[in-house]
């Protein structure tokens, strides 16, 4: 997987486009009068987009493919849920924030695995993720065991989650962009390209990976926390499940690892596919992701965003060549 080209738009234009996009999405429910179904589906998409972008910081920028991010998703979800179940309940935003922070701290526990590279790291994260799932499922006092936790149903909060989710996406997008443009981002790419060479020029790979993993953990934890409020029922085998870790990997890879548009695109496609496939062909959806993975790795390592870039280039060339011949 080669490093994708850095975002090429000029900052001012990017900022304007970005603000316009966020404003449009924020106004959408009022303007378009979304049905509750669509409203909730978009909310869920926001959550998945944030999670995929945060996974991509680790998997795309540092090049460490984690199969264990569900652990942070689960910690975020359950810490937030516990705070919301207090008597009197904690204010929702505070509970979510606490969930995110707890997940970030929990992510630091993965520190010893961070000096592993490539497949060793990936497999170690499977181990950590599955061990977390078992321990948290066993810890009934905290997670309710395999019967899970139910949060009080509150349609108002669920409705408003749309904007909280959108705010999270905006934040994570901005952070992704800043990381990618900064020296820090370049240092991460250096780690991805060659750890030893990066160390030679003074990049402290372990420290940087800790920072990225924790940040990624905070965001995925926040996602989990919002998800807990969204579903108002959470269960450790689902929250900490291997499938959840995989879904983050799939979203980023389908969209394009290491890019910013990639995880966004991937998450949107993932949520829509899942929604429609689960409804009409529940027996096919795993295999479809399998086929997508194989095709993407073989033919377009940058995923859908790579495909889009290629198409754009072809269109430009076709449009450009007759004009060039005329001049």
């Amino acid at each position: 997987m080669n490093a994708p080209p850095p975002p090429s738009l000029a900052p001012a234009r990017v900022a304007v486009l970005f603000a316009a996009g966020v404003a449009a999405l924020a106004a959408l429910p009022m303007v378009a009068g979304l049905s509750p179904y669509t409203h909730n589906l978009v909310t869920l998409t926001f959550l998945m987009v944030s999670g995929a972008l945060a996974w991509n910081w680790m998997g795309g920028y540092v090049g460490q493919v984690s199969f264990g991010h569900a652990a942070m998703f689960g910690v975020g979800g359950f810490v937030a849920a516990r705070l919301l179940l207090l008597e009197p309940p904690a204010p929702a935003p505070l509970a979510w924030l606490a969930g995110g922070l707890a997940a970030g701290v929990f992510a630091l526990g993965a520190h010893p695995t961070l000096r592993l590279r490539g497949p060793y790291f990936s497999i170690a994260t499977i181990g950590l993720g599955e061990a977390s799932r078992l321990v948290f499922t066993y810890w009934e006092g905290f997670t309710g065991g395999s019967s899970g936790l139910s949060l009080p149903l509150d349609p108002g909060t669920k409705y408003r989650l749309y904007w909280w989710g959108l705010a999270l996406v905006a934040l994570v997008l901005a952070a992704s962009w800043l990381i990618r443009r900064s020296t820090f981002g370049l240092q991460l790419l250096a780690i991805k390209a060659d750890v030893e060479a990066a160390a030679d020029v003074g990049v402290n790979a372990t420290l940087y990976q800790d920072v990225v993993f924790a940040l990624s953990g905070v965001v995925v934890g926040l996602t989990g926390a919002l998800y807990a409020s969204y579903f108002s029922f959470i269960e450790p085998n689902d929250m900490f499940g291997f499938d959840r870790s995989i879904s983050l990997v799939l979203m980023a890879v389908i969209g394009g690892v290491g890019t910013i548009a990639g995880p966004v695109l991937g998450a949107v496609v993932f949520v829509l596919l899942r929604q429609y496939l689960l409804a009409s062909y529940p027996q096919l959806y795993l295999g479809l992701y399998g086929v997508l993975l194989v095709l993407i790795i073989l033919f377009e390592p940058l995923g859908l965003s790579g495909l889009a870039l290629r198409l754009a280039r072809r269109v430009r060339r076709r449009r450009g060549s007759p004009a060039g011949a005329a001049a």
Binding site: T113, S122, I123, I126, G127, E130, G287, I297
Partner: protein, 291 residues
């Protein structure tokens, strides 16, 4: 005391199965430097193959082993020729091959769902519940048979790698593929054969597990992780190291019952995996090149 003997016996029996699971993964990684994430899927496929032959043809699961070996060998060769061959090798190709083979695994799982639904299956033979006395405790006949095969397998693998031309070529390719090309070894063919043998070993582990455990299409993920623990713990390529590592894992899992609630014993393997990777990434017994 009796309890301890029981536990020790079941640990040894389990160790045989774990070692069988691990050889294929270790062989493929040792030669191709590719972690075969589809390993768990092939184990699952082996289990279903054995089960189908028992259900449809009434074939004893132990007699169906040659067929399973052949089919999974063919699948492995095909997998290499069609997909894995096109991937970059080494550090750069790590994530790519991992994700690609993971995709293959998802696909295998889905095919199994479509063909056989998600229900739990098991191979039940006339002797499934038969047990024989051993060291003062009773041991299931199936588990004993599995242990027997698990002892024969590494010997066969060792002889193949050490005593045959093919084995020598495989070891040579593992050491230095470029030099092999120079002296006229068809490296691509050796890679394909190695992938085939590795897959066949996974298939074998699958049928053997199916005689002891129930399975469904998701079967194999725990097995993949355990194989990985064994491979990492045992150091690559050492047949003896793999056996010892399998024993350590099995003992740890079985004896964890004494101190941990049974629900958590499954976590022992995962915790060991992380500890071993972090503390002894070269394996407990050091690294050797195959054999």
């Amino acid at each position: 005391m009796d309890r301890l003997v029981d536990l020790a016996v079941s640990a040894v029996l389990l160790a045989g199965l774990y070692a069988t699971m691990a050889y294929g993964l270790g062989l493929i990684y040792g030669v191709l430097r590719v972690v075969n994430l589809a390993h768990g899927g092939i184990i699952m496929a082996g289990a279903y193959l054995g089960w189908q032959m028992h259900e449809r043809l009434g074939l004893d699961p132990y007699l169906s082993i040659p067929v399973v070996l052949l089919v999974t060998y063919g699948f492995g060769v095909l997998l290499y020729r069609v997909l894995v061959r096109h991937l970059p090798r080494g550090a750069a190709g790590g994530p790519a091959s991992l994700l690609l083979l993971f995709g293959v695994w998802l696909l295998l799982r889905n095919v199994a769902y479509l063909l056989f639904t998600g229900n739990d299956q098991a191979i039940t033979t006339s002797y499934s519940t038969r047990a024989v006395p051993l060291l003062g405790s009773f041991v299931s006949l199936n588990r004993l048979a599995v242990l027997g095969i698990a002892v024969v397998t590494p010997v066969a693998l060792h002889l193949l790698l050490r005593r045959t031309y093919l084995g020598r070529a495989i070891r040579a390719v593992a050491q230095n593929a470029d030099s092999c090309t120079v002296v006229g070894v068809d490296v691509e063919r050796i890679y394909a054969i190695t992938f085939g043998i590795g897959s066949a070993l996974a298939g074998l582990a699958g049928v053997l597990s199916a005689t002891i455990f129930s399975f469904n299409p998701a079967f194999g993920s725990g097995e993949l992780l355990k194989s990985f623990v064994v491979v990492v713990l045992g150091g690559l390529g050492s047949v003896l190291g793999t056996g010892l590592a399998a024993l350590i894992l099995a003992v740890a899992e079985v004896f964890a019952i004494l101190v941990l609630p049974s629900y958590l014993t499954a976590a022992v393997g995962f915790v060991m995996l992380v500890l071993v990777l972090v503390l002894r990434p070269g394996g407990l017994f050091g690294q050797r090149v195959l054999g």
